[in-house]
Amino acid sequence: MLINTPKNSTLNDSDVTDENIYHGRRSLLKKMGFIGAGTLLGNSIVNQASAGLFGDDEPRFITTALDYKKDISNLDLAKTPEQKVISHNNFYEFGAKKEQPAQLSQQFNVKPWQLSISGECDNPITLDYDDLLTMFPLEERIYRMRCVEAWSMVIPWVGFSLASLLKKVAPNSRAKYVAFETLYDPEQMPGQENRRLGGGIRYPYVEGLRIDEAMNPLTLMSVGLYGKTLPPQNGAPIRLVVPWKYGFKGIKSIVGIKLVEQQPPTTWNLLAAKEYGFYANVNPNHDHPRWSQASERRITSGGLFSRNRIATLPFNGYGEEVAALYQGMDLSTYY
């Protein structure tokens, strides 16, 4: 039994400042300022002064708390702090630099949203924003996330398995692969509008899985992280998480899921086929042509000295669950 003795410094959920209050702290300060300074100065002067002082008052995207079943099987994994998970993102639709998605996506509109599931199936459906959060019971999954760039995080996702979604549409016998597509909306996604900002990849972003990979219980449709709905930089309102594959397989802000007969094209493979395969299973024995994949830097808390380089595990440590999917396949041919 795990006995967890809280330290004096340990914070409870009840100690956490409500997010809305946190983001509204500047307006709270302003209001306090008005009462004090407003009695001395004309309102307009205060207005101008506060606008200048508090110029960084861009409204942030509001995430809301979710109801979900806790993951109690992976408590020994040291999680990457939430602030790092939501500020270090590869989501080129909002800029190719790591910090850009968090900066350039806060006005992103997820309501209304439409996710269509179609193709080789008996009951194609289209889900709206509320369906995404209510159609299936939500559960937490604490997964390792291994980026192809050789860094990794541990993230508590909230979502439902892709298998339960696919069962709903009843795939037919021709459904051999699943193709995913991100929203294409250059007005909202500056990286799609501006080639330099968007890192020169083709849009819309597309990804794919083999049907048996898609049906594996580990494969998650995530609608949240750290107990709340996803912020845009992490792929709001719904994204894919395939923990035994490199992070780029985890396509974000999905609008289309299509069951298909042929292996679908995938964005990074289209850009550089020698560097990024369709399968993209985490594999320490198959290097990226330009860097080693044998180890990774695990991003946790702390600065320059506090992160550790650790060995990368085959299938990112999920071999027990998924290695059988690739029996008889040469993983250095099908990388």
């Binding site: 330099r196 990849i201 330009r290 080693s292 044998a294």
Partner: protein, 196 residues
Amino acid sequence: MKNNNKVFLLKSFIHLAALLPLINLYWQAFADQLGADPVERVIHFTGIGSLNLLLITLCVSPLAKIIKQGYLLQTRRLLGLYAFVYAVFHLINFLAFEVQFDGALFISEVIKRPYITIGMAAFILLSLLAITSLNRLKRKMGKSWQTLHNYSYLLVVVVTVHFYWSVKSELTSPLLYFLLCFMVLSFRLKKLKRLL
């Protein structure tokens, strides 16, 4: 103002402009104020910083000629040495924070990854230029000093290739740097023709 004073002021400015960003960078990195992955940030910052300083160094003599201010040449060595300092930090970042003193990994990456191989080659060349900038060595070397230092033209191109090769998909910035290389080298077309 006397030229000596101008040089003194310029050099003071170069010291500040080169050192303050570096101090600020590591201060932020140690305080965990540099985003989620400070390693990537310090590597990129020092790498691009070194390339920028190399390009600036190569601008000095054309500029001095064009605006007829010969004393500017006296800042060239300092600028070049700061390009070297940034390159040293770039390499230290890679060794200490990226591969985290895994010697075997470091060596295999340098050998197996062409873009790291040429980066390392560029670093060795830049080190030679930095060491031979000592007056005493310069005097001892005589004519061969100039021959060695003419390799700075090759160096700036190699460093730009290293940058181009390292990026994942965004090619606009490296291509811009190739254009800058071409510009600083275009002032030396005659000399380059003679050398080739």
